[in-house]
């Protein structure tokens, strides 16, 4: 097992319930701790997996403070209740302001990031280069393809510089090249700061688990209405985390099979 310690609590969900006309989420309890490794700047990456319609997007809304739960609470950084704006959230459909050009949209986010002060423009150009959008900075969202929109949306939330970044389906709609780039980018982000915490919802289990340290599986239990976290897999314990070529290894594939069987 890679040497590491789990330190202070970064995010804590306590007894979160969400009910519309029926129960959607119930008894959600988990806690994400700051993972430190000697000699390495290491953030946290959590993958959240579940069937379509199970409540992943709703859980994201609650975690990010956009939606208050029916009961229970989510706290970050020493028991402060989370509020909208604390986290970067990339939603499934990549909404952008239709009246802003790509560059303006990115600038709005960069302006919110105090760490970028004075370097907003360069940083945007740098990101655009990495995501192959340099030629598209002056276009409006309507003029972008679905995958380009998605990348702009990801860039926008990364530029904002929150420590918590929630990504709802960040890999759908990306071609093989872009997918590798996006995975690489997320890894970089997670390594950029000790406190960076990424929570990824994805149906692309292999790719998201490969860069994660923890997996949560959201599912129903027999006889109970509403989904909850059915299983938590600590990938560090299984020695599957933080390894570049993990995807080819047998143990990794076995874990993937285990996850799939659980859905």
């Amino acid at each position: 097992m890679t040497q590491h310690t789990k330190e202070e609590v970064l995010l804590q969900a306590t007894d979160v319930q969400l009910t519309f006309d029926r129960s959607i989420l119930r008894d959600i309890n988990f806690c994400i701790r700051n993972i430190t490794r000697p000699g390495v700047l290491q953030g946290q990456v959590v993958t959240l997996i579940g069937r379509s319609g199970i409540g992943k997007t709703q859980l994201f809304k609650i975690l990010s403070g956009l939606q208050s739960p029916t009961s229970g609470q989510v706290t970050i950084n020493n028991n402060k209740p989370v509020k909208a704006g604390d986290m970067g959230v990339i939603f499934q459909n990549y909404y952008l302001f239709e009246w802003r050009t790509v560059h303006q949209s990115l600038m709005l986010a960069a302006k919110k990031n105090k760490a970028l002060f004075g370097r907003e423009k360069q940083t945007i150009e740098q990101y655009a280069e990495q995501f192959q959008l340099t030629g598209h900075l002056n276009l409006y969202p309507q003029q972008l393809s679905g995958g380009q929109r998605q990348r702009v949306s990801i860039m926008q939330q990364l530029l904002k510089g929150s420590n918590f970044i929630l990504l709802d389906e960040p890999f759908s709609g990306l071609d093989v090249c872009m997918l590798d780039k996006a995975v690489e980018m997320l890894l970089q982000v997670s390594l950029s700061d000790e406190l960076k915490t990424l929570i990824i919802v994805s149906h692309d289990i292999e790719n998201s688990v490969a860069i994660s340290d923890t997996v949560y599986i959201l599912g129903n239990e027999p006889g109970k209405e509403g989904a909850t976290i059915k299983k938590e897999i600590d990938l560090i314990e299984r020695d599957l985390a933080w390894q570049k070529h993990i995807k080819q290894e047998r143990r990794f594939m076995e874990t993937i099979e285990e996850i799939k069987a659980c859905l």
Partner: protein
């Protein structure tokens, strides 16, 4: 040819032109054959139209009316924006909703009150117009606000905007192009009201006054010719406001695929 009767079929520009031309000709033919007695034939109206266009009388009156309409629309849109923006504050929400309901009031019943409140004819006309237009503008703008995609607000929240910044970004900046659309859609209403309002205070002239005069002498040919003028001006404005919107807010116009 079959295409023009297929749902959602796209037809090329040339076909559209021919189609419209044919439709116009049919309408004119129908008009020509059906009109008898007092109703003038299209040719007669056309010659009156040409004659009118050449006359200084028309030009002067159009200018008067246009100026009044534009002034009224300017005031109206300012008032509308104020109330529409404020409508997101609970205190002003009810006021805005009340203005919307004012569409049901008829101006005719309020003329006397307005006469008491204003000091001369032009002021009376202007205030009546503004009073008549604002409810329609506010109605349009509120429906724009109501139909805002909730994700626009969510994106603002994730960017850490407070409520005032959200108001600024989503409603003031984000819906600025809609202002032109509202002007465009409601120009017809202001244009409709001007003829009525101008009948109240005839001293300054205007298209409405002209129309009333012709009507009084049963000069149906000139009434129809004048209608044609009003119609054409309306179309011009429609086009002008549409173009201005696309020019000022490029995102309001989807780029079309170039057809060879």
């Amino acid at each position: 040819m079959k295409k023009i009767f297929q749902p959602f079929a796209t037809v090329n520009k040339q076909t559209v032109m021919t189609m419209v031309a044919v439709q116009v000709v049919i309408t004119l033919l129908l008009w020509h054959t059906m009109s008898a007695g007092l109703i003038p034939k299209p040719a007669k109206v056309a010659s009156a139209f040409v004659q009118l266009l050449g006359s200084k009388l028309l030009l002067d009156n159009i200018l008067v009316s246009l100026l009044l309409t534009l002034k009224a629309m300017l005031y109206s849109i300012l008032i509308t924006l104020l109330f529409a923006y404020l409508s997101v504050l609970p205190f002003f929400r009810s006021v805005a909703l009340f203005i919307v309901k004012c569409r049901y009031l008829t101006l005719t019943g309020l003329i006397f009150i307005f006469t008491l409140l204003t000091k001369d004819g032009s002021e009376l006309k202007l205030s009546l117009l503004v009073f008549g237009i604002v409810p329609f503008f506010v109605t349009s703008f509120l429906s724009v606000i109501v139909n805002i995609n909730p994700q626009e607000y969510e994106l603002c929240k994730t960017l850490g905007y407070n409520n005032w910044q959200t108001l600024y970004e989503v409603i003031i900046i984000g819906k600025a192009d809609q202002v032109f659309e509202i002007l465009r859609q409601n120009f017809a209403i202001s244009w409709l009201m001007i003829t009525m309002v101008e009948g109240l205070s005839m001293s300054e002239g205007g298209i409405g006054t002209l129309l009333i005069k012709y009507n009084k002498y049963n000069d149906l040919t000139n009434v129809l010719a004048l209608q044609l003028v009003i119609f054409v001006i309306g179309l011009c404005f429609d086009y002008l406001l549409g173009t201005m919107r696309h020019w000022l807010f490029p995102y309001s116009k989807l780029k079309e695929v170039k057809a060879s």
